[in-house]
Assembly symmetry: C2
Homo-oligomer: 543 residues x 2
């Protein structure tokens, strides 16, 4: 008999831990866990990976050490077949899918960043949920500092040194504070080219105070003031509306030039959960008080992907680790009760406390018994509580050592680029934005998915309009075919969606696909002809 | 006046350090350093990053902290113009190149892995020189263990659990030993699916003993025996000849199935150095005893990219850190002598000692004064010497702490995937190899650069030949257009070079480039027709 757990976050991993404990030496039941990564991420400390206060691997615990008797499948879940009671896993080295059956299923797939609602977010907003997100963000921050230090154009420099975080919940607040602390310290190594005054970190939050949905009004006001005092600029009462490669546009029309936009706001159900033909509310599976999914006696759902009724009537459990862990423990015993014929118990946990870091060794804390702390005492409580919750003694040792080391060793500024081609990319731009500039290096081919662009030639005294291109057309191939600099400037006439192909991939493809090179060259020749013919005619917008 | 240093390895970084020391408060001379990364890699400990004995960032030192008064450009060097005395740097965020002039130039660009001489090396051999190489290799090893633990096909499992390192110099020996130690320890977490007996690490070395070119015959023999006792399998007197995605072929015809092939053998001059119109031997710049490049009074070359005459007549300096560091210090004072009108001094350093780790706390050491050590004493000397050479107190603290932690904390097995599309890739295969198998998931489009493949359909009882494809033709598009599994098997008739395009990039491209989808669909329809017509005809090889 197999109990199958989908997802190795706090819900899934702690369910497996509880099952191992309850099962002891029983060998009639196999527990199997499927997770994309081979570790559990301790999210509360993820902002400390960005700031470098803890090491890259310190905030994650290998699942194999947490649940040594569980069969671990480090794969993505592709689909779930509720009729056949099977799950399909994505292939790894061999392009073959794996199919696994279950007798009891625990769904703990969490949520994913919802980046499709706002234009440009999918292309240009960095999510902040996984260890890879944190490492990528950290590398990006250092790369930005390195390039800002040698950038001579003052406006490009300002754009590089502006950092925007969206969302004033725990995650966004801690990230903005941690990023600001890190950048202020790191910039010392870039003197005299850069100074702390050049760094601008903006937190965009659609509310009056940060953390207002998380802690009491008094603490939220304190948190807002404390964050402001660390130098983080607050854009309150407004939300980020769209993004381009070099800016974030707020709902009130303000446009902030930046190369670093991290969003912690939106959250969407996992696509696999969405695809299930099970009752749900806003994509979260509807469960009863025993956490069993409505209408199924072999499926339970916990954590972010479940709509768990809070013991206090009319409320729902928040999507936090402390709830997921208690749900996991209860589900483990309820699943075994369903197998062994016992009775299932309802979920009764009502929460313990709340903690949020604010940078510069400040925090807010609401502890059990109504104790409210702020400032340094809250920060000490924050570290103490999360340290005690770190799974495994080795993690406690490592994080402890990192924190000690952080007191004596200067902020780490080594930037780790793992390289690799970017492949096909996507770009979102606003009307008036420049896609490529005459004289720039030809590094990409662009294909227009939607919108219109104008192609102009800068003659030194004026701009000579050459063409207007629309969906299905491409541009930028001339510089790639000739391997030189751009001969024209291309600018958006409307909001525009583009596909991009790196120059190296482009040259591989035209070498590899017969006829493709000729197709591109024919169009290029046609365009060159047309441009010559048009050179002295006035340009007319076709609209 | 500007002294420009190309490259931030031991040569370039230590030259900048020496110049900062010699220049003191002088502000008539600017020192500028160009390097791809913002850190100096301490290569002797790189194998310890793979084994996890030290943390990811412990073996690198931020250049900005080492040379705070030097202008640092974290960019690639694109080209050097000896006439104009300028260097062009690759673009970063903005697609514009940067041009920098020099009054004095120090070339310390090192060497690059030479992967083009052997078929399949460029596509399938992992180099081992940079921090990114080490981190990628470590992640790859853990990924392989994770997938082997759930692989049910015994031969695929054996291939996954075989690891091949080419090159029995210091780097290859230390890597094979470190990988073996790491895998043997890590595999404990994968019980019962895997056991240490399943792990096979092979070191391929074209010589009688490992380290025979580096240390005395007696120590080389000891090293060979010690390495063998740790369980590393030695393939001596033979070299690796070619590689495919799932194997390494040795010069004696033996084929070792593996998904992990790391080569430390070949080394080629940096392409920028190759492009210089300066006297060179085998791509290394010819310098006089003062390290000035022959024929130029404003250019010096040091480290791996220079052919430095050894003080002992008839010998050349080996490409090691201890020589590069001494060359750097001498060049700094010679460059200043050339500016201030002093006289330049010749290079006189003749080497201090040699150290090589062998795994399981064993090493070999030749220390000054003819002292030779092996085993644990040598290993302790190895750690002590390299620890003392780590640049900067913070690095010493961090590595020390990591070594201490390593004694109490179990081997780290968290695998950090930073994701990102792979873009266009390349595959090299031998005659008889299978490219894709009927029933597999359609995950790539393949384009044939050279060679011939046969397309067959497996009917259960036999194989039905369908077509032979050659250079300029592509295959695999049907499964991608239909988003399903492969309907045929494709196998190589000759050695074959392929370009691959991931399914996601393929679908983006056919959506983005007008006519491309139709072109592929037309060919697909034609092929389907032809296959139907051919179905009952015997297949003839066109050759």
């Amino acid at each position: 008999m197999r109990i199958l757990i989908l997802g190795g976050g706090f819900g899934g991993a702690y369910a497996a831990m509880a099952l191992e404990r309850l099962l002891g030496d029983r060998d009639d039941i196999e527990v199997a866990l499927i997770n994309r990564d081979n570790y559990l991420v301790f999210q509360p400390l993820l902002a400390e990976v960005v700031s470098g206060d803890v090491g890259v691997h310190d905030t994650v615990t290998p699942l194999r050490r947490l649940v040594p008797r569980t069969r671990l499948f480090v794969r993505d879940v592709t689909s779930v077949d509720l009729e056949a009671s099977t799950v399909t896993l994505a292939p790894a080295f061999h392009p073959r899918e794996v199919v696994l059956g279950w007798d009891r299923l625990i769904v703990a797939l969490g949520s994913v960043p919802a980046l499709s609602a706002q234009p440009g977010f999918a292309e240009h907003a960095m999510p902040f949920r996984t260890l890879a997100d944190a490492v990528r963000l950290r590398n990006h921050l250092i790369r930005v500092l390195e390039q800002a230090a040698i950038e001579e154009d003052p406006s490009a420099r300002t754009t590089l040194l502006t950092f925007v975080v969206a969302g004033g919940g725990f995650s966004g607040t801690e990230l903005a504070a941690g990023m600001n602390d890190f950048l202020q310290e790191a910039v010392a190594a870039f003197r005299p080219a850069l100074s702390p005054r050049n760094i601008r970190v903006v937190l965009v939050h659609n509310g009056e105070y940060v953390l207002e949905r998380e802690v009491s009004p008094q603490l939220a006001r304190y948190a807002t003031r404390a964050l402001g005092r660390t130098g983080v600029e607050l854009a309150l009462g407004v939300r980020a509306d769209s993004a381009t490669p070099e800016s974030v546009v707020l709902a009130d029309g303000r446009r902030i030039g930046t190369r670093t936009f991290v969003t912690t706001v939106p959250s969407a159900p996992s696509p696999v959960v969405m695809s299930l033909d099970l009752p749900s509310d806003k994509g979260r599976l509807r469960v009863g008080p025993t956490l069993q999914v409505e209408g199924r006696d072999d499926v339970w759902a916990i954590g972010d992907c479940a709509n768990v009724p809070h013991p206090e009537p009319g409320k729902l459990c928040p999507p936090t680790a402390q709830y997921a862990i208690r749900q996991a423990a209860l589900t483990a015993s309820n699943v075994l009760a369903s197998i062994d014929g016992g009775s299932q118990r309802p979920f009764t946990f009502t929460g313990l406390g709340k903690l949020g870091a604010l940078g510069r060794r400040r925090a807010v804390a609401e502890l059990p018994g109504g104790v409210r702390l702020s400032g340094l005492p809250a920060w000490l409580a924050w570290r103490a509580v999360y340290w005690s919750k770190l799974p495994g003694l080795d993690r406690k040792l490592k994080v402890g050592a990192s924190w000690l080391m952080d007191l004596v060793v200067p902020t780490e500024i080594t930037q780790l680029e793992l390289g690799g081609s970017a492949g096909v990319g996507r770009v979102h731009l606003k009307a008036g934005d420049t896609v490529l500039r005459q004289g720039d290096l030809g590094d990409h081919l662009y294909m227009i998915i939607s919108g219109e662009v104008e192609v102009v030639r800068e003659t030194g005294v004026a701009e000579e309009p050459l063409a207007v291109l629309g969906p299905g057309e491409y541009f930028g191939e001339m510089a790639l075919l000739g391997r030189g600099v751009r001969g024209t400037t291309v600018r958006c006439l409307t909001p525009t969606q583009l596909l991009t192909l790196p120059a190296s991939d482009f040259s591989d493809l035209i070498a590899g696909i017969p006829g493709l090179r000729r197709q591109f060259e024919d169009v290029a020749a046609l365009r060159a002809q047309r441009q010559d013919a048009d050179r002295h005619e006035p340009f007319r917008d076709p609209s």
